[in-house]
Amino acid sequence: MTPDTLPPPLGEQDAESPLRPEIDPQDERAAVDPSLFEPPAGAPPFERTVLTTSLHAAVAAESRVNRWTRWNGFTVAAWLTDLGDEYRALRGAATLADISPLIKYRIAGRDALAFLDRLVTGEVAPLAVDRAMHVLFCEEQGLVLGDGLLFRLGDEEYRLVTEETHLAWLMDSAIGFRVRVEDVGDTLAAMSLQGPLAAFHLSRAGLAGIERLQPMAGCWAALAGIPVYVSRTGMSGDLGYEIWVDPEEALYVWRHLMQAGAGFGLYPSGVGLRELARLEAGLPRAGRDYLGAFAAIDPVHARTPFELGAERQVALVKPHFNGRAALVRLAAAAPPRRLARLVVDGLEPARFVSVLADGRPVGIVTTTGFSPALGCNLALATLDTGALTARLTVDAEIRDELAVRRVVLPARLVDEPFWAPARRHAVPAPLTA
């Protein structure tokens, strides 16, 4: 037998839950839960199975078109009925989506604050309990490794939610700190309720007073008698909430929300809509719009926070954090590239190839999409700083059945997010559309 197939030695097995050893909240050593890398009990080794989230049964029941895609290794719905219908629900009423494949870390211990303060570029100390902030973290050269949402759950307990895995970096960063870093992806399900009627649907489902929750704040609540953590966060650029719940009870929460909202336009949706909404909100995504510093083989494709337009999240006043020395140097000069939001007028969806200024390529397009509400093509692109003031055009491909037309379309830069209604910050949140 190879070591992989050896049964675990006796005594290491936990009688109650063989899969997931009980987590000791007092344990402050950074450690990887070995069960993350073990096949489920009873499964033959090297068996390849489709990895699904705990909400898969509910999502699969809603799927009318059988369109699946993968996200961080999980099989998730690309869309469930029709992307246009889901989009209209998102912008006009509300949609509910499974976002469990997001990477979630629990960071807890006496030095959790000091650890995070060194890890991320922003100031963590002012973050109050039950609040969230958007954070970036860099390596030594000031190149961004990833970004994410940092929740403060308790005095010494945080949750970091990211698009990509960063466990190795977090573990290495934890050396010398009394802090425990755990990947809680398996023990935490998440769903996202977004749209102008999101607050209405939550209050209808039994969360009275949810409209008074501040943006980027969270609270513990009960849905259908199940404890959930509700945070007013999301990637849609609109009013929206994310619901964090135990995976074993996630299905009940989903069903409860869908039943309560059935007659009021609540639609289930997939990740295709999440991408489109994120583009309209102008939010770059790790792995798509920029590469983490360790993922970029050619360092040209790694980005500094300044190139991502995240100057406000870099607190150079902090005495020390990862990449500070390099960022102080970088802050002195204008970044050579910059992430920009592009609008290309025209009523047909087009696929952009490159961005030109006076016929010369000046940048790459990383995300494109056609916004039905705005009636134009949108894109996130990385452009040379010098070209930001020039007249821009994009090389586009438009498909007509089998034929492909290549056209050059005029493009313009937009400073503000494409979709940013005032209600996303309103307190109390509107209960009607």
Binding site: R118, G176, F177, H320
Partner: protein, 512 residues
């Protein structure tokens, strides 16, 4: 506190030989130095203590192997009381039947070997010339202080080109090998092979057949070339510590014992001083730590002040020490069968064959001890009669390959180990067991606790590397320097790390 409000130019943390050497060198560069030692005495592994009243011995390290003459002269150690009772000790490999072997140091010794073992004597001449050529080639690389390796490598290639074309090829062929394989190929005489193998791996947990022990051996030879062979200081190794401390005091440096530094103070990204365990803050723009790099950066400075990438690059924790020490008080000189009285004061090795050394290493890896351990013995009271009452002697035995966490635990095993040491020596000196008045065994954990040095500091436990560079003494934090184990290739009791750190600091101050 007494030092509150006093201003210092530099604070040295740790009063072992490296810390003391750094403090003395900085003092000579006219800096006001404060040395803080956590324990209540200086010296680390270089101390002298009583076994019984009137019987004194070097408690831990017992030979000065490679105190560079450069340092001895620069710090005027002889003026500060350092006397060598015996210099350039010969090494004798003991034979159970009395046919002891003096490891050849000169032509006369080789001729003596040729009388009994002509083939081995011829092989020795070739081996010796080969090793000398290699040491001459890589010693400048080993002790090179510049951060970049390229110039040093370029010089190495030029030197090799200039000497003999085959040397460099032979060196590159040898370096990754084990000393055991080479000895097997070159020599026949088990005693010679055993002694050379023990010489190469003493202080480490690597057996003679472990890959890379060739580099260990060359490193040893290179270190030895810095000093003047093995010597016994008058008054034991503690005398070296005392002389270094006197050198510090002579430069108006201040030494405080019992002052444990709990953390380093950082202001604006640079070192501002230290805080001791009792909460006193001492301000100085320069801090030199003789603790290991990892301990200094993580425990004293704190990971919050350095990059994750820099933490990643920190060396792993020092390997646990594997050397034990037995100090014995004797009521007379033991009669080693067939050993002339002149050679009794030499460095005596018990390593009957290469296999014995290898077996000891294998057993050590299995957390056990050989029934007849290999060892290095000195009787310092022959050269320095003041250590024991007239006619009486003290014997100092260094035991390599003693597992740090022995099977069954040291308290249960130490008496048996002590007895096995006495029994083993008694096979060479039949009257030995009756001569022992008192003795004590310092286990590897004891040595670590007493010296305050992780790994014990007896012999270079860490694997040497070919080129260290000055980058090892500097740290990413301005004003913080390292002079401890791992910050200079010359680990062993050389004080080189301290002196080269001080030299680097002075050079940097001059550049500013």
């Amino acid at each position: 506190m007494a030092w509150g409000g006093r201003k210092f130019d530099a604070i040295v943390i740790g009063g072992d030989h490296n810390g003391l050497a750094a403090a003395a060198c900085l003092g000579r560069a006219s800096l006001r130095v404060l040395l803080l030692e956590a324990g209540d005495r200086l010296g680390g592994a270089a101390v002298t203590a009583e076994i019984l009243p009137e019987y004194e011995a070097s408690t831990m390290a017992h030979l000065v192997e490679a105190l560079p003459r450069r340092i001895e002269r620069h710090l005027k150690l002889s003026k500060h009381g350092l006397r060598h009772a015996a210099r350039d000790l010969p090494t004798v490999a003991l034979d159970r039947d009395g046919g002891h072997l003096v490891l050849p140091r000169n032509r006369k010794d080789v001729a003596a070997l040729a009388g009994t073992r002509p083939a081995d004597a011829a092989a020795w001449r070739v081996f010796d010339a080969r090793m000398k050529a290699h040491v001459a080639l890589i010693a400048p690389l080993l002790f090179d202080d510049t951060a970049s390796i390229q110039p040093a490598l370029r010089r190495l290639v030029w030197r090799a080109e200039w000497r003999a074309a085959g040397t460099l090829a032979d060196l590159l062929h040898l370096l990754p090998q084990s000393i055991g394989d080479l000895l097997d190929a070159e020599f026949e005489y088990p005693l010679l092979k055993g002694a050379l193998a023990l010489d190469a791996v003493l202080g480490s947990v690597d057996g003679p057949y472990a890959p890379g022990t060739m580099l260990r051996y060359l490193h040893r030879l290179a270190l030895r070339g810095l000093g003047r062979g093995y010597s016994i200081p008058a008054g034991g190794l503690g005398a070296v510590t005392d002389a270094l401390a006197a050198a510090v005091a002579a430069q108006r440096g201040e030494i405080r014992t019992g002052a444990r530094v709990s953390r380093l103070l950082v202001e604006g990204g640079a070192i501002a001083g230290v805080e001791t365990a009792d909460g006193t803050a001492i301000i100085a723009p320069l801090v030199v730590s003789s603790l290991g790099r990892r301990a200094t950066m993580l425990d004293l400075l704190g990971a919050a002040h350095i990059e994750t990438a820099q933490v990643r690059r920190l060396p792993a924790t020092a390997p646990a020490g594997s050397v034990a020490k037995v100090n014995l008080a004797l009521d007379g000189l033991p009669d080693f069968r067939g050993l002339s009285s002149v050679l009794c004061g030499a460095r005596l090795l018990i390593a009957p064959s290469l296999d014995d050394v290898d077996r000891a290493a294998t057993l050590c890896a299995q957390r056990d001890i050989a029934a007849e351990p290999v060892m290095e013995i000195t009787i310092p009271s022959i050269a320095d009669p003041a250590l024991a009452p007239a006619g009486h002697h003290v014997m100092s035995v260094l035991l390599p390959f003693m597992p740090h966490d022995i099977e069954g635990g040291w308290p249960a095993r130490s008496e048996a180990v002590l007895q096995s040491v006495i029994r083993t020596i008694a096979q060479y000196a039949p009257d030995f067991a009756d001569r022992v008045i008192a003795g004590d065994l310092l286990t590897p954990p004891d040595i670590e606790a007493k010296s305050g040095i992780p790994g014990g500091g007896l012999g270079p436990a860490e694997r040497p590397c070919l080129h260290a560079g000055a980058a090892r003494q500097a740290t990413p934090v301005p004003g913080l320097w390292l002079c401890g184990p791992g910050s200079h290739p010359g680990d062993g009791a050389t004080g080189l790390a301290g002196c080269s750190a001080a030299a680097a600091i002075v050079a940097e101050r001059r550049a500013r």
